[in-house]
Symmetry: C2
């Protein structure tokens, strides 16, 4: 790998981005971390990284940018806002887009960057903060062979599994959207099931034991119901994330005039939770919607 | 075990009942199989069992009856219909109720049998035909210690896992209802996800590979999506089953005035599939609802 590809900027040092940035450091990359949060920057300097407070402050000879911000709005700002990095990205540079965004946004953004010769890897991630820190994420990526080739050192360092979903930008984001449709509905269904089980007088711990060994199980049921059993809603992943991601499902399906009644019902449940003041709570708190609407008492 | 407990009637020789009856034979029980289907009876005689065409024909000294019919209506008929077995069941006999029925039906039926001294084990089963044939079902059971004790030889022979959900009849059926809520919503969500994935141009096989290794996975996604990929809807478990079982969820929740918006949305999707003539197709055929309503072409 040429030395220019060993210098990487990571924009967005939240739980996922910090893990990615540290995995890159561990793998011998020179990493410039960028975030609006001064504490995150200080922690990353302690870990041995360089930092920049604004995307526009990132050294223009940096050829690879990994973007791990929360939303399309933030990604847009990182690139094209007043302090954005797009203006200084050189032709031949690579933008690795890890945020969960709509396929349309990915396509549109890639086109804008292509006009200045910048490559785009549509590379949503999955796996959570622990796997991010361990360099063991899953990446659902699409893009040109050239983009994949230039990204290889980075994806090797941060991911355990790299799914090459296709050659067209948008396919990676489409795959992530499908995953989030399932994940979001499964979290809301786990909540509905635990709420009804409580209503009919079943022991919640027993329900978890039986269901997690039965055909009603899901990855999300197994992972989130322990939060309900513990009554612990400090956010691992917040209600607001699935409100956004199921929103992407709905807007994409709507633009194609395609029906998604289950995703729509789940989106309403996350909307109810956010409306009730729980947007920043753990997503398992969607079960609290059922509690507020009934006489059940959860742990 | 006393010899009286080695004689068992199995009523309902469908794919589950036949497996149960054969597992009991293998374990040294004298088994009387009962079904309205003459072919099923002939096959069971070939396997070494005794048979009865009507529940009322079963030898009155048979102390244990395992009921594996499809619905509450059939279970009611097996017991209290014109050719029912309740009239000849002796005090101290045991009725093991394996059908998926509402908790209320289980409670009411147990009360009627208790009035003539017959024990009731509320014992819904899970695992499918293959596990039934292997004697490796899961049973979610509730009932008195006396009922569990008398059932022990039978449950040992037919089940790998016996969950003792509680001492009250109804709790076993409640647990199965919660499992079916999750399983039914997960099947419909797998269908919705595969349909939308097809609409946005993703490769269906690739979606299966990525999702079954990601946080969007569920037991049902992993098990049913291969039917969609193969375009094979010969019934392993039919649309009509989940129409019935989500109906139990809705009627139970409704009787308690408890909201179940996701179960209700999934129930409507199975209703649409049945309305479109697919009641006897495999439950994965719920994906065909999306195909009929759009321009997608499934495998």
């Amino acid at each position: 790998m040429s030395s220019e590809n060993k210098k990487v900027a990571v924009i967005g040092l939240g739980s996922m981005g910090m893990g990615i940035a540290q995995s890159l450091l561990r793998d011998g990359f020179k990493v410039i971390g960028c975030d609006v949060n001064a504490d995150a920057l200080a922690r990353f300097r302690q870990a041995g990284g360089a930092t920049a407070g604004r995307p526009s402050d990132i050294d223009p000879d940096c050829q690879i940018v990994v973007c791990v911000v929360v939303s399309a709005v933030q990604a847009e700002d990182v690139l094209f806002g007043p302090e954005g990095i797009a203006a200084t990205l050189q032709s031949g540079a690579l933008f690795i887009a890890c945020s969960t965004v709509s396929p349309d946004f990915a396509v549109h953004t890639a086109e804008r960057l292509a006009s200045q010769g910048v490559l785009y890897l549509d590379a949503p991630i999955s796996g959570g903060a622990v796997k991010a820190a361990a360099g063991k994420l899953s990446i659902m990526a699409s893009g040109s062979a050239q983009a994949f080739a230039k990204a290889k050192g980075v994806t090797d360092a941060i991911a355990e599994k790299l799914y090459r979903v296709g050659e067209e930008v948008g396919q990676g984001s489409s795959m992530k959207m499908i995953n989030q449709l399932l994940a979001g509905v499964h979290i809301a269904t786990a909540a509905e099931a635990m709420a009804l089980a409580t209503k009919v007088g079943l022991n919640a711990g027993m329900v978890y034991e039986v269901i997690s060994n039965s055909a009603g199980n899901s990855w999300m049921f197994e992972n989130r119901v322990p939060h309900i059993l513990a009554g612990d809603y400090k956010p691992h992943s917040a209600i607001s994330i699935f409100l956004k991601d199921l929103g992407i499902v709905l807007s994409t399906a709507n633009s194609q005039r395609f029906p998604v009644p289950l995703a729509a019902a789940a989106h309403q449940l996350f909307t109810m939770a956010a409306s009730a003041g729980m947007a920043d709570w753990d997503d398992a708190a969607v079960v609290k919607v059922y509690e507020r609407l009934s006489d059940i008492t959860l742990p």
